[in-house]
Symmetry: C2
Subunit: 161 residues, 2 copies
DNA sequence: TTAAATACGTCTATTTTAGTCGTAGATAGA
DNA sequence: TCTATCTACGACTAAAATAGACGTATTTAA
């Protein structure tokens, strides 16, 4: 459950790669595909996307490439995901605040508020996490909950049918 | 992005419904489908699942049904999702701690740690949220971040292509 | 014995995600 | 001016995950 989107992974890979370079040096998509094995077209799209949103600067033509232009400390993980996947919508239909036509039982539905609550809190969570923090491996734990160390092993278990 | 699973919605709907009843009174799946329009088979599976995990007690035969047996204050939203969808795995393949064969570029991959970080923090988030809190609509905001109020409107916007 | 439930294996349809193809446009350098 | 090497982007196909349906067996109160 709750798998991260591949495009977002490619974005992180690209950003991390570029951040390790001396300022001014450009990175081509080809470079990323060779280093990390990510598919060219998709990675290219993602970088184009980030360039449109002002996170990267693109330079066309031979010897072109991408370069980070925004402070990654000032971009939340929420923002990054929104740039690539569009705005967050925890519940597509039934219980969200989308068009009324999307849900026929809106009057009787008993979990409108729970889902909105969840939506709000998740958004908060993602907004509080900066891209820089993520890439640095900081923000490892808030210290509130130590049980979380079981996650790694849990992810090796099989999913139910 | 980050849509909630339909099965989890049905679980929440069922639990909320049952919680509103006097103790001892059973709830049938038919009842849920009539009230909330959720599909019978799927809802049935979900309830069976929760029964197997000890959250509900099931009674077969005529006049049978389901009943909550566990304190929802002691079940985290993480647990609920895990019961229905299996354990959380933020990254399926490439950068998780699954079988090594799942990722060919594990040596060169530069975001192993970021994804693990994210995984850890997300799990924490879901563990800190109890099912009771969710159903009550409590846990609305940690107060740390007020920008989150834009989420509702954001979810009405179109996704990029 | 019947009606109304849960239990559960298997199948199909739909939607989302992932990845590909083809082509156009920019630019440095020979 | 020509060519190699990039980005930009529309349209398409494939794969996987999600959602839902069908059929049948079992349990149990009346």
């Amino acid at each position: 459950m709750n798998k991260i989107n591949r495009k977002v992974e490619y974005a992180l890979i690209g950003l991390k790669h570029m951040r390790g370079k001396p300022p001014g040096e450009l990175t081509t998509v080809k470079e990323l595909t060779l280093h990390y094995g990510c598919p060219f077209e998709m990675t290219s799209r993602v970088m184009q996307n980030l360039a449109q949103k002002g996170v990267l600067r693109s330079e066309q033509g031979a010897y072109g490439g991408y370069q980070i232009t925004k402070d990654l400390n000032r971009i939340s993980f929420y923002d990054l995901m929104a740039m690539i996947l569009g705005p967050m919508a925890v519940a597509k239909c039934m219980h969200s605040s989308e068009l009324e036509s999307a849900c026929e039982i809106r009057e009787t539905c008993n979990i409108v508020s729970p889902v909105q609550t969840l939506s709000r809190r998740l958004a908060e969570f993602y907004r509080d996490l900066t891209v820089a923090e993520l890439l640095d491996g900081r923000g490892g734990s808030t210290g509130k909950n130590l049980k979380s160390s079981v996650v790694a092993e849990a992810s090796m278990m099989a999913e139910p049918t």
